[in-house]
Symmetry: C2
Subunit: 221 residues, 2 copies
């Protein structure tokens, strides 16, 4: 499968790009507003992978071209730039599945807090911004980018996948399952996304308040 990571130059983009390239046979395309930045980052990821004996091509393209090439498009940009980013690639999505890992948070002196958008969740915001007929799936909200990007670090995490249709959800679950140590779980329809997004500030708060814990994920049992 061809997976494009819009804003794949950033933290979670790097983590997902490296893990998919390292653990699976999917083709990873790094997208950026700036094609040159995308190329440079893609090369950086290739070097990192080659140093571990994985010789793969990671392509770097502008977000539009990356989206046009992909079966699955992960919008790996900050929540407040999600709508703009989706609108910018809207004409290039064809039948691609759009995946949102985005979480809105605010921070005060006590900790991080979920900043729930009026429409219900950031994932539903992505669905609203997507062109009619695009299949939107929420996933990867609760994975710590830093640990994901460190291929020496083992993970043992769940990721909850939400979506209103079964097929695209199954595809994203398969992509998640391809990453070693990651287990996809079905969270139901998009309208259940808020509770998933709200778990992210909790992960950060727990990391901040407990010695020796950082870059956390969860497992459900």
């Amino acid at each position: 499968m061809d997976i494009a990571l819009l804003g794949g130059t950033g933290d979670i983009g790097e983590g997902l790009a490296l893990r998919w390239a390292y653990d699976t046979n999917h083709d990873v395309i790094v997208g950026s507003r700036d094609p040159e930045k995308a190329e440079n980052k893609a090369e950086e990821y290739e070097t990192e992978l080659a140093s571990r004996g994985t010789d793969v091509t990671v392509e770097g393209l502008g977000n539009e071209d990356a989206a046009a090439r992909a079966d699955v498009v992960v919008v790996a940009v900050p929540a407040y730039h999600l709508t703009d980013t989706i609108e910018a690639v809207a004409d290039h999505l064809d039948d691609a599945i759009l995946v949102s890992p985005a979480v809105g948070m605010k921070r005060d002196e006590d900790g991080f807090h979920y900043n729930r958008p009026g429409v219900g969740s950031v994932t539903e915001l992505a669905a609203q911004a997507a062109p009619e007929g695009t299949q939107v799936v929420g996933a990867f909200h609760n994975l710590a980018a830093g640990r994901l990007a460190n291929l020496d670090a083992e993970i043992d995490w769940d990721t909850i996948v939400v979506g209103d249709e079964t097929d695209p959800k199954d595809t994203v679950c398969e992509l998640a399952d391809g990453i070693e140590g990651l287990r996809p779980l079905d969270g139901g329809p998009l309208s259940n996304a808020a509770e998933i997004e709200g778990l992210t500030p909790l992960l950060i708060n727990v990391a901040r308040h407990n010695d020796g814990m950082h870059d956390l994920g969860v497992t459900f049992q």
Copy 2:
């Protein structure tokens, strides 16, 4: 330590009562609005424990008397009766630590959703209802009562503990740690409670949407 469970006749009360009586040397007191109901339930718990070779006394009392006897008072009643229940025992709390495991949820056809009170969280609602000077701690929000109450079932769960003062939080962490398979984690101050409470509907949604998963908790790693 003496632990009172107000509404300890209910689901989470039964789970915590059995686990503390089975796994620790703490004294468990079951509270109820109806002292006779409390006595009957306490006897039921004793019978269950005795059948496993644990001969302990579980006392059953009215909520007021239970609160008066305890070092730690867990308010194990539905969120919408929390304020009433705390006000009813207010004159009997002395220096007891008040613990809230309560979560407000609403349900629609898609799943369960967090019903966040205006004051920020149900745990902060408990703090507001408590008499001036009472130390309030949030804990046990994310434990499935059914699994807890089944002493044959092993658990491997975390519980996030929040509170504005260190000492009562440490005490509750020790109580949690006494339950086999339960790990307390520090969640910071009470104002971080909403994200913990919001995890509960997610646990229920995941259980509903994934075959073979029920009565879930989480671990952070």
